[in-house]
Symmetry: C2
Subunit: 206 residues, 2 copies
Amino acid sequence: MPKLGVEPIRRQALVKATITEIGAAGSLDVTVSKIARRAGMSSALAHHYFGGKEQILLAAMRHILVLFADEVRSQIASARTPAERLDAILRASFASPNFTAEVIAAWLNFYVLAQANPEALRLLTVYRRRLQSNLTYALRPMVGAAAADKAEVIGALIDGVYIRQSLRAGAMGGDDALAMLRRTVDHMLPGADQRKTAEMVDGAMT
Amino acid sequence: MPKLGVEPIRRQALVKATITEIGAAGSLDVTVSKIARRAGMSSALAHHYFGGKEQILLAAMRHILVLFADEVRSQIASARTPAERLDAILRASFASPNFTAEVIAAWLNFYVLAQANPEALRLLTVYRRRLQSNLTYALRPMVGAAAADKAEVIGALIDGVYIRQSLRAGAMGGDDALAMLRRTVDHMLPGADQRKTAEMVDGAMT
DNA sequence: TGATTGATTGACTCGTCAATCAATAAAAAT
DNA sequence: ATTTTTATTGATTGACGAGTCAATCAATCA
């Protein structure tokens, strides 16, 4: 093989090109040829490495999910208190490179893909569970038994802001979205203004 | 056909068949032939009445938006207080015939369509604005200047619950969704400070 | 050096689908 | 009764796209 170890590079290039193409087209109606051309190779080679269009799409999806997971992990790493942990998740959700027109369009279309493709559904379910778990873990010390429920609400809210962002017209930027989320989440916590109340409840719970 | 005035019937049948097909396929990759067959006619006739696939899809979209608008209007009609008006909107959002797997799948795909189709984008924008307006109108007497902001949050939350519902696994029913929304909205209203804390502690104990 | 093997592609197949059209049937209008 | 209008479809066309394959090309290894 000429130039050994080209495979991972090609795969990476194809995955990135796929996300770009989906962003440009706004749908999954993206030809393998276009993806391959954007990645600088022939469509035959794309098939050679991935086996088929479906698997290219799934790889792109996994890539985005990993990207998001990494961002969450990185943001959470420096969080000390539950409140900081919660905010870290919000930051990860609305900071680049996640809250980009391209990536948001991809998310939206992955939801569509999950309608017909079991593996895509599985991936999204895993993402959803992990987000729920992270949120609940951060919320429990603050709101106790209500954590799961509130995590569900925040999760839905994040998804909602994402989908609305996909209609660029009248949508807000990542910073605005983050601010809105923070405000709303704040309202859901005990003693919205003073964090003291939160600590009280926290103490009572644990 | 002989039988004059068949056109509206055919159009209606095609629109309903389109929604069903989108629901079944989970995507917009729905052939005109399949739609037409389900509606009991040839694909050529579908083209004859609508001019093309795109316009069939847009007609289906308009149908769903009108359905939703009618439901909201109908629910709001009997509302006396702002709180009732607010609840009416929530009921309209999560009651059949709006909160159906079929219709939800259609919504999701219309968001995708809006990525590429200006008319679809326009329709969704109109829907969004109307929802925002209705929510704000109901909220203003309750929260004053914060109405617009809170309306935005509730709107996003509704969209988020919808999109999550589209992944049937682990999703909640319409009643649960409605209950969750009510609880959340309740927390966003004034007087929630006292009620909230009480509820919190109460919830922690039960 | 020469065999091996991965990398790479152009050309081709096969299927699908949107859109069109010519033809037919039948009610309505004249 | 004949013409017009509306309804309807089977057949066809033209385009496009996924996937395959046989054939190169070049680095590595024995």
